[in-house]
Symmetry: C2
Subunit: 214 residues, 2 copies
DNA sequence: ACAGGGTTCAAACGATTGTTTGAATCAGGC
DNA sequence: GCCTGATTCAAACAATCGTTTGAACCCTGT
């Protein structure tokens, strides 16, 4: 069979995940990837039909791993209280701040896409109808008034994930000079608590009477 | 004097602002800018010492215009109730969703930077100690418990601005197929109310007892 | 031993990026 | 009128990007 093919495929995917997570898709060059993977230039085009094809493959893997392992897990979601589930989810989204394992890299990749979705990514979510956003929507729905419109719930979910991804993307920036945040476990716990608590406290009032627009 | 110089300078700046707002700094090429401005290739390097120099100049202008005109205005901030001030600020941040005027373009430029700060931008905020974030920090502080640490207030401000900039950046994406949001004035009002109300409802509980980390 | 297909390789391709060049053009001062 | 400095211009530069090429390589089946 094609033993060696699968081997270098994995080599490439591993290197690509690391780079895509670190810098995002656009800023990661093919030459960076093949250098890190210690394979030839043409390998990506041979095995994945180009950079886009590689990214699509990587997205597929990341999505599978995340949905099977996430705090979005349907079973776990029901066994926990809404507050616990939300806290777990936020903690999961902030995971790349603390750990550099594979799962964290996948989350970070999606954090880049939430900043500026690439063409490949759009094609990807077009195929996966059950977007990773739907999990977040279910999560916030439990805090929103029961008659909240789907659109508002979607916006709330986007806001929730956006708050996490800002920190994931700019981790290094916030650690540096004007901010000087020491990003350790106590800090991330604090941050996750902050985001979670603001959501818990605020979401129930999301559909109150219209504010004066002035 | 150098009349014609200032004229083409403004031509370039105007075109650059439009493109930087639309696509961000990195994705806007020098050739796009000079074509839109109807000036020569070399003009940018002659007048601004390169693309970076142009961007720095544009950032300076945008920052001045925003601080003098923003909902962050110190006088206006004190004359309004905390709730009104926050709602005004959020509405201001979401302005690019509705209008395409100059002010909206400046806001959108900063929204791109909040996603992935460029080198030029980092150098810029290093020089402007009173970051545009400090206004947001003051705003959220009025809802946080009085003894909240500066670090937590800063995180809350980042979260607040992040929620707005997600929609500003991805306006077109959310209008399209998987989401199909019609981004008109009622929607933006609704969204601004949502973000504001979640913040008002949640921020006071930001420093409650530690949540169980599980 | 040989042929053939899957895989690797170094090199080049064409497109795009930001920047530089050197001549051409224009203005105003002596 | 001519010189000088500022400004514009078309063209090229060097670097990087993703992709393609065609020969070399290696393993397998016959």
């Amino acid at each position: 069979m094609t033993r060696p093919a699968e081997y270098t495929r994995n080599l490439i995917i591993k290197a690509a995940v690391a780079l895509f997570a670190e810098k995002g898709f656009e800023r990661s060059s093919v030459r960076d990837i093949v250098t890190k993977a210690r394979v030839n230039q043409a390998a990506i085009n041979y095995h994945f039909k180009g950079k886009d094809g590689l990214y699509f493959e990587v997205l597929k893997i990341a999505f599978e791993r995340l949905t099977e392992n996430a705090g979005v897990d349907a079973g776990e979601l029901k066994s926990l209280s809404p507050e616990q589930a939300l806290r777990r989810f936020v903690g999961h989204q902030l995971r790349p701040l603390l750990f550099q394992d594979e799962l964290s890299r996948y989350i970070r990749m999606f954090a880049w896409e939430s900043a500026h979705p690439s063409k490949v990514f759009r094609k990807f979510i077009a195929g996966n109808t059950t977007s990773y956003l739907s999990g977040a929507v279910d999560l916030v729905r439990r805090f929103l008034p029961p008659d909240t419109q789907e659109r508002a719930a979607l916006c709330a979910a986007i806001c929730l994930m956006g708050q996490c991804s800002v920190f994931v993307r700019n981790r290094d920036l916030f650690a540096q000079d004007p901010f000087r945040m020491t990003i350790d476990e106590p800090f991330v716990d604090e941050l996750a608590d902050l985001i979670t608590r603001v959501a818990i406290g605020g979401l129930p009032h999301a559909e109150d009477a219209r504010l004066t627009t002035a």
